[in-house]
């Protein structure tokens, strides 16, 4: 079954595919720059010791994104 969740919902080890990007302004451009367009696969690698931000594997690079920003990235997960 397919669920819609957001990037910040992913627990370490979980994967998803970008369904829509609701971020705006500078954040949107930055996410697009790192290749986070629709249908891109992401994997949550872990969370920092404080619990936020989390690290994600996006197109072979590891990017840390805060929860507040991750909420605007909608995902399809299996």
């Amino acid at each position: 079954m397919e669920h819609t969740r957001c990037l910040s919902d992913l627990r370490p080890g979980e994967r998803g595919t970008v369904r829509a990007l609701h971020s705006t302004g500078a954040m949107r451009r930055r996410l697009l720059d790192i290749g986070l367009v629709e249908n891109t696969g992401v994997e949550c690698l872990g969370r920092s010791p404080g619990g936020d931000p989390a690290a994600f594997l996006i197109r072979g690079a590891v990017i840390a994104i805060r929860d507040q920003d991750g909420r605007d990235v909608l995902l399809r997960t299996e």
Binding site: L21, S23, A26, M27, R28, R29, R30, L31, L32, D33, I34, G35, V37, E38, T40, L45, G46, R47, S48, P49, G50, G51, D52, P53, A55, L57, R59, G60, A61, V62, I63, A64, I65, R66, Q68, D69
Partner: protein, 713 residues
């Protein structure tokens, strides 16, 4: 901590770039690339320069250029700031784009990371839209090979339509191949590279605009790219194009057409945001397609080892303890390792002083000359060298090793939460780490922070972490008063722990003042941020040692010595010129004394901090000089004797604590302040950057002293 002549002080800001060709036939080559792909290493290897490199994104914050001679041919290489795209969303992107567009380079090399080629191709494709004279340089081929990633360079070159060269920055031969390819691209017919195809609507709009561009633009600007920019609503580019390339008479018709096409696109639902998304998506999917069959890999660029390391270094349970342990270990190694060479150096240098004295006596030189030059200039220099050189020569390489391995971005990642709680971002932790080396370098490094508000926060609070000029002071006082110089691993472990405590206090102050500023002068919410955690790399130990000693240690030492020599002379004069009953020195010290006593210091100490304004390294030597010139002249061969001298002059453990506190919190050195002024462009912020730590230091020292007195200490 990019600490070189060019990155601190006067040479810190050079955003306007003037190309300096050594000969008119020199080729100008632009080096573009994503952050952290080894672009600066490549630049250094090609030019033999020492642009500082580190394994974290956003390291090159200024343009650099260097020359390279090969046989008859000369090249001017321009190292552009690392960017993910050329869409000119940020200052760095604009610098990079404008240079490729209007800087008239003969060719551009886009440096890519072989371990994550697909993402790097975004920049390649965007560069190809600007100029066909491009060589794609797939760097870090050795790294990729180790990770089981194979890149078919020939196939990629066929698909892209431009030369593709694999490089390993350390291998000279691969650099020759790169320069050969650049020669080919610069000399001959321009290649016809792959063009990214956009959705039909957009292609139609492009086709409508391109015939309207003035004819003479064609050889300078790719019409497709220009059309895209105009459709995107970038009016600045049109202004620049007319300014650089002329053709004003055709402006009216062009602007009208742009307006019409934009309106039509909007009607089709391709508004500004959607339009941009479509452009990016087209580029990203083209890169994806290009990579199919070109890159074959067993695993991903993020290897299982990286995964394990990250789990260890950034997890909830082990992240912070390991961070602290690493910091404490670096300090411990510095303290233990510096002890013996420090002693040896001091013995040698003071033996030389005795010989110099004999020489002066032999030449029947007047006493004042011997005093000024040997007891003044030489002795202070000797102190600075013997106290500072050994800890720096150990600390800098150790720190650089951590940096090279890729640990620093993990510190930023680990500390983002606390910094966010103070309305700032984790990248400030990176600039803080650079501050350990040199606050001025840390302040230049603040350019990696995108939000202007958060950047100012990082700049204003940077001097709360002790720079390398202050470490020796802290270490010496800790060892003398709290550990005992008896030695043994227990003692050195204790001083490392205490020093770690002081660093933590500095970090705590950074956070507290960041929070305070966020609530007052720099109100605002934390902005969004992304932070790249680059793959761990095996540090090149030999290179690290050589580089950190020559680039950093000797540079810092040189600066300290340059300040110490005149300061030594000044102190000697002040101690030997009498006005009325007492020397100038005692007059000054006596004047400062009442206030200093409040802070639990004495007039001499406060004066030493004031005279140490050009460089913090000379504070302790000045205190020593001042005490020695007033009391009996003894040979200070060890910290024990130094402690005796201090105690004779009224020091207690309270004085020692206050000196350390004040060393942590007082006005930044002159270089740092000049850098702050350059970076902020404002005297107001510069003054605040000096006032904040000074006020904090004075207040804390007074409070601490009062507390101890109340408690009957």
């Amino acid at each position: 901590m990019g600490l070189t002549n060019s990155s601190t002080g006067m040479g810190a800001v050079d955003s306007a770039l003037v190309i300096r060709r050594e000969a008119p036939t020199d080729r100008v080559i632009a080096l573009a690339g994503n952050p952290n792909v080894g672009k600066s290493t490549l630049f250094n290897a090609l030019t033999g320069m020492n642009q500082h490199t580190g394994n974290w994104p956003g390291k090159t914050v200024t343009n650099a250029q260097g020359c390279c001679q090969r046989g008859e041919k000369g090249y001017v290489l321009v190292d552009l700031p690392g960017t993910y795209s050329l869409m000119a969303h940020s200052a760095e992107e604009e610098v990079a784009r404008n240079f490729i567009c209007f800087g008239d380079p003969d060719a551009a090399a886009v440096v890519c990371d072989a371990t994550c080629l697909e993402r790097n191709l975004n920049l390649v494709l965007q560069t190809l839209e600007l100029s066909p004279r491009v060589v794609v340089c797939v760097n870090l081929m050795d790294e990729a090979k180790r990770k089981g990633i194979h890149v078919d360079l020939k196939l990629l070159s066929e698909r892209l339509g431009v030369p593709v060269v694999g490089t390993v920055a350390r291998k000279k031969k691969s650099l020759d191949t790169l320069l050969d390819a650049l020669d080919r691209v610069a000399e001959g017919e321009a290649p016809t590279p792959l063009t990214v195809r956009y959705p039909q609507r957009i292609e139609k709009a492009i086709a409508a605009l391109t015939p309207l561009f003035p004819g003479r633009w064609a050889e300078k600007l790719n019409p497709r790219w220009l059309a895209l920019k105009l459709l995107e609503g970038d009016e600045a580019i049109l202004r620049e194009a007319f300014a650089y390339l002329g053709g004003e008479e055709e402006r009216g018709a062009l602007e009208e057409a742009v307006e019409a096409e934009r309106e039509e696109l909007a009607q089709w639902g391709f508004g500004e945001e959607r339009f941009r998304d479509l452009l990016v998506s087209a580029i990203v999917s083209t890169a994806e397609r290009l990579c199919r069959g070109v890159v074959t890999q067993a695993g991903s660029g993020y290897s299982p080892t990286d995964r394990r390391l990250d789990r260890l270094l950034t997890s909830k349970r082990t992240g912070y303890p390991i961070m602290l342990a690493l910091v404490a270990m670096v300090f411990w190694l510095t303290i233990v390792g510096a002890n013996y060479p420090s002693q040896l150096l001091s013995n040698i240098l003071f033996w030389v002083q005795d010989r110099l004295t004999e020489l002066f006596a032999l030449l029947h030189a007047p006493d004042w000359l011997h005093g000024a030059l040997v007891l003044g200039v030489y002795r202070v220099l000797a102190w600075v060298v013997s106290v500072m050189l050994p800890p720096m020569a150990i600390f800098f390489p150790l720190f650089t090793l951590l940096e090279d391995a890729g640990y620093l971005p993990r510190i930023a990642y680990n500390l983002d939460k606390p910094f966010k709680a103070c309305r700032a971002c984790g990248k400030q932790a990176l600039t803080m780490c650079m501050g350990f080396g040199c606050n001025a370098a840390g302040i230049v490094g603040c350019r990696i922070i995108d939000s202007p508000r958060e950047r100012l926060l990082a700049i204003l609070t940077n001097s709360f972490v002790p720079c390398n000029g202050r470490f020796p002071t802290l270490i010496a006082i800790l060892t003398m008063f709290f550990v005992g110089s008896a030695g043994g691993w227990k003692a050195s472990a204790l001083s490392a722990l205490l020093l770690t405590g002081i660093i933590l206090l500095g970090v705590g102050l950074t956070l507290a003042f960041t929070r305070l500023l966020s609530a007052t002068a720099l109100k605002g919410e934390p902005s969004s941020f992304t932070l790249e955690l680059p793959p761990y790399r095996k540090p090149q130990v030999g290179k690290v040692i050589v580089r950190s000693i020559f680039d950093r240690t000797l540079f810092v030492l040189g600066r300290a010595a340059a300040v110490a020599a005149p300061a030594g002379l000044l102190i000697w004069i002040m101690a030997n010129v009498t006005v009325g009953e007492a020397t100038l020195l005692s007059h000054c010290a006596a004047f400062l004394d009442p206030f200093a006593r409040w802070m639990g210091l004495d007039g001499v100490i406060l004066m030493a901090f004031i005279l140490g304004f050009p460089a913090n390294e000379i504070v302790v030597p000045i205190i020593l000089m001042a005490y020695l010139s007033q009391g009996s002249l003894l040979e200070l061969a060890s910290l024990t004797e130094m402690k005796t001298l201090f105690i004779e002059n009224g020091w207690t453990w309270v004085t020692a604590v206050n000196v350390m506190l004040f060393s942590l919190m007082h006005w930044p050195c002159s270089t740092t302040l000049i850098t702050i002024h350059k970076e902020t462009g404002s005297w107001k912020w510069t003054a605040l950057a000096a006032a904040l730590p000074t006020a904090a230091g004075v207040a804390v020292c007074i409070a601490f002293t009062a507390l101890v007195r109340m408690a009957g200490g």
